[in-house]
Subunit: 506 residues, 2 copies
Amino acid sequence: MEVFVGGVGMVPFGRHPEVSLVSLLIEAAKRTIEDDGGLEVDCVVVGAMNPEEFCGQGNISAAVVNNLGLSGVPSLRVETASSSGGSVLEVAHWAVASGGFKRVLAVAGEKMTHLPTPLVTKILAEVIEPYERNAGASMVALAAMVTQAYAHEAHISIKRLESVLCKIAVKNHRYGARNPYAQFQKEITEEQYFNSRQVSFPLRLYDCSPITDGAAAMILTSETKNVKLTGIGHGTDTLAVRHRVNLNSFAAARVAAKKAYAMANRDPSDIRFAEVHDAFTCFEVIGAEDLGLLEERKGWKSVERGETELEGRIPINISGGLKSRGHPVGGSGLAQAVEIVWQIRGKVAPERQVKEASIGMLHSIGGLANNNVIAIFEDAQTPPHGFGWAPTYERRIEINRDPKDPEEIKGREGVVDACTVLSVPPEGFPSPLVLGLISTSEGHRVLARAPTGAHFKVGEKVFLEKEENRYVFMKAHPVERLLYKIEKRKENLNAKVKGLLSRWRT
Amino acid sequence: MEVFVGGVGMVPFGRHPEVSLVSLLIEAAKRTIEDDGGLEVDCVVVGAMNPEEFCGQGNISAAVVNNLGLSGVPSLRVETASSSGGSVLEVAHWAVASGGFKRVLAVAGEKMTHLPTPLVTKILAEVIEPYERNAGASMVALAAMVTQAYAHEAHISIKRLESVLCKIAVKNHRYGARNPYAQFQKEITEEQYFNSRQVSFPLRLYDCSPITDGAAAMILTSETKNVKLTGIGHGTDTLAVRHRVNLNSFAAARVAAKKAYAMANRDPSDIRFAEVHDAFTCFEVIGAEDLGLLEERKGWKSVERGETELEGRIPINISGGLKSRGHPVGGSGLAQAVEIVWQIRGKVAPERQVKEASIGMLHSIGGLANNNVIAIFEDAQTPPHGFGWAPTYERRIEINRDPKDPEEIKGREGVVDACTVLSVPPEGFPSPLVLGLISTSEGHRVLARAPTGAHFKVGEKVFLEKEENRYVFMKAHPVERLLYKIEKRKENLNAKVKGLLSRWRT
């Protein structure tokens, strides 16, 4: 069954201190129902990542349908972490395509700005694989390691990649400044970007999307409308980043994109513009490569050439992206979808209207890219693909890493696959915290910590040790190892002396 | 498209101190995939009410698909509070019926026993409408008031209703003792029931389902199998209990049941047995009436006559129900579904096998009955309904109560619609806490608190007062009001004296 877009709507993103999450969702929903001509919806699908911990609100789908005055109508919540806004579309699509419903309201959002940043970071970190979380990895630390791995695989220096990331940040702020729904209504300069503080090397504050309150909504319907949802795909990946074959791309997005392309009978050359999940600037390049919109490992060159600008070959994040429009985690996916529909309808301000906005692609990342949703929206008048695009729907992804962390390390040598220096580590960790994904000589990959604040390069050989439940890596020079051993001996001795003293005292 | 049941499976319910929620879900899923012949699933739908707060686990659908070794396969979580296990079935049904998937794994569960009871109660209370929660209402208090309202509407004394509830508790424990998957493997006597402590009058400890760890799973498929999911419906109701027209029945279940009957082309006389959401014993009678399986307001008579026993006209909760099998909140709905499929397949122990188990009905309640899911499973060989059952699918429910709480109370007189004495109130409230749903003379209904531990009868006239943000009710005798006024004066005077003293001291 064909699925069309009825109405769309969203609330301006930013700080809404006086308003509850439910009120934000209701406002987005009301605007959407109005946009659809006020017709009655027969099902409500709500997306939110963690309303319980952000807002103390349980059973949110019942609260939404109640506050819309639609008690009786079925309503449920869908959650896939930060792609929840994409997943509501998927479930709403199923509901319509099943023939069970005529008009399904998808509404998604999050309210986060009322909480202190460390608490928000802690709640967001609950989606990280427990071992990696306990080793000190936060979302930005993992994203920083992915960024380093990308630079290595793309044969580009960190310095040059930084200038690419800067271009993305500046671009997204430029378009955000033209979008009345964006959290940041201001442009930034290259200087401001490079002056912003390092959060997790090589990512700066201006590489990260902000903490945001916001909500968006869309009605999917079986009735013919001028915009169609032609393809939607969803893919997952290992929870642990260290278990992935490739660190520089996201398999979950590739699986999802393949399905979306096959369903829509489209290929990357058909896509005119895209909304890509730039929670961190580097994800915009990686995401566009995963979708096939930019050339594999050469996406950074396209950014340098301005191909992703409004006037470029494939405009990306002309909304301002998550970076500038803001990132209410459970709501972003649906906000991207609303933006795409507005662009296709030609309803955005002329200074940011994509010229040939006939087919747009949505790319939403859940967690650290282990729950991704890709969708294709089209002007219903667009002619179908000229030739038969062969659907190659791969469901499973390749995992050739041993998912078990090694009990012992034999060779005591490893290679840095990715690394970061985290300036603001989670509670209980020293600052700066140096984390690395290290491949062992036996073929495992572990998440390890360096004892000093040293910087490491991807591909660098290191010494690897195991202490109780954690792995430690250090520079491969024998002196480093000696110093580390002396340090450990001193610690052990201190512990013994303390033990003896306390026994003697009692 | 017709939707069939591929495989089913569950883990024994109870306390699983050494095991994580993800492990419980994986175990249930593995048993289910095995039951289905080990075929590959192409989508995973996970149900859990609050894994973030119960277990600190975010993005659980990605964790499940990862630990099943199915990375790549789409996976999302569905949540509707305590009916999440029912809602995963609904979404899995949409996924199959949409034609997008061949074999969808629905898996749902919860892990709760590792937390102290007051914390569990607090987390569960997040689904209660904020005003009612802040007034001291817990789930059991609201259920107790519904129980009182039922007794009043059914013209039955509380004493007689207690003996009906006792019969339900004894019955469900009797069958739980025959179910190897049940948390409580023991029968209880009437004496034990009446000796169990009052939790919220008239509900005793043995009227309440326990805190449980557990998980269940089911594969829905488009391939022909011997059991079919023929109907599924979902309905919502006002979040606030006080806004409902009727307190003695659940409109959300009625809306959902109508849809399920219409979809399956069945009527209540076709149903051979049911799994009804007996989170509190009284919900079993109310639920069976809402489904049309027992006569309106006379369901209690059917219980007295033994009609809901294994050998009765319409066996209910032969699994032991939530009461005895246990209630891992997000998992119960799916466990009920698994039980129904086992019964239809004739796969349970002879001492609890329903004789003509050709058509079974699932009834799952989310929150305080504001998010309910009803489903019908059938032996695929069962002949269709002989006559045309006219589908009467009502989507909306009647709300004629003003949803705004009155700013002032004019008449200062009210009638008790429902009332309870809560022995273990939420933190910060005095024990016992007397709560009442009181209709005002202007037609509002408010949730009010009585200042003393007095018992009230439904239908009793009371005095109603408003103090700042809360309502207070008391016996209608003028002396009561006088005493209350004196008490308030004393309190005010005390406050004033304290204020003066503290000012004088500084």
